[in-house]
């Protein structure tokens, strides 16, 4: 079964969506991502949608879900690379994607993640702040 690959980059996970996702694929991604976050204790997730030409309410929901689930697992999500035509369409559609942070590309997304992690360091068991 086809899966969307999840790359590990240090304490971040990178997902690059390049295909026109159908429902099952999207659900599989959600599951895979959740497992991976736990497995790798990742602090951040970058979702690269620069190749996505269409984002409808379904995909919007998936992205929102991923952000919420990651939050529960103590990781932050940033969606990067949204195409202008997609952004314009989403605004018109009325999809606000609240709770989803965005950045122009992967590098800027990582900068954003590092900044927000520095502001909210994870506490280790013996009380020392761990960034």
């Amino acid at each position: 079964m086809e899966r969307i690959p999840i790359l590990q980059m240090g304490e971040f996970l990178l997902v690059t969506i390049q295909v026109d996702m159908h429902d099952r694929l999207a659900m599989t991604l959600q599951d895979d991502l959740t497992n991976r976050i736990i497995q790798s204790s990742a602090r951040g997730v970058l979702i690269d949608i620069s190749a996505l030409e269409i984002v409808d309410s379904f995909i919007g929901r998936i992205l929102g879900n991923i952000a919420k689930m990651s939050q529960i697992l103590d990781a932050k999500t940033v969606v990067v690379g949204m195409q202008p035509a997609v952004a314009i369409t989403l605004v018109e559609l009325g999809l606000s994607l609240t709770g989803v942070r965005t950045a122009l590309n992967v590098e800027k997304g990582m900068v954003l993640l590092r900044k927000s992690l520095a502001a909210a360091p994870r506490e280790s068991i013996d009380g020392d702040a761990e960034v």
Binding site: D20, H22, I54, D56, S57, I88, L93, G94, L95
Partner: protein, 126 residues
């Protein structure tokens, strides 16, 4: 085209995209009509129990247009005005996407009868 599974929604998107490209729509307009098609196809599948979509290329003077007609024999929509309001939802999700889809196209027509089905026609001009 038939809409009976989520794989069909992807096929509808691809078909609408191709037609929009052939008719010379700008990238933004292409994105808008394909997204609207995706929303309505999904509605047809999720709320209408499956149905069909018809694609038509139109011409008004020098302007080309694309018309999509989504039909299903599902439960129908009891309160159309309510369904068109943003944020309306009967299921668990962002709702039917009707109000939003309406803004993406130039013409939006909906006929629905409870117990008989729904027919939505959208048109986008270049």
């Amino acid at each position: 085209m038939n809409i009976q599974s989520s794989a069909d929604i992807v096929l509808v998107r691809q078909a609408v995209r191709q037609w929009a490209v052939d008719l010379g729509f700008s990238l933004v307009d292409q994105t808008k009509i394909v997204t609207a098609a995706s929303e309505l196809a999904r509605n047809t599948l999720d709320y209408g129990g499956g149905g069909t979509v018809k694609l038509e290329a139109l011409q008004e003077g020098i302007r080309p247009g694309l018309r999509l007609t989504f039909e299903d024999a599902g439960p129908g929509i009891p309160d159309i005005d309510l369904a068109l309001k943003d944020g309306f939802t009967t299921g668990n999700g962002l709702g039917m996407g009707l109000g939003g889809s309406k803004r993406l196209v130039n013409e939006f027509n909906i006929v629905s009868r409870v117990g008989e089905g729904t027919c939505i026609t959208i048109t986008k001009w270049k």
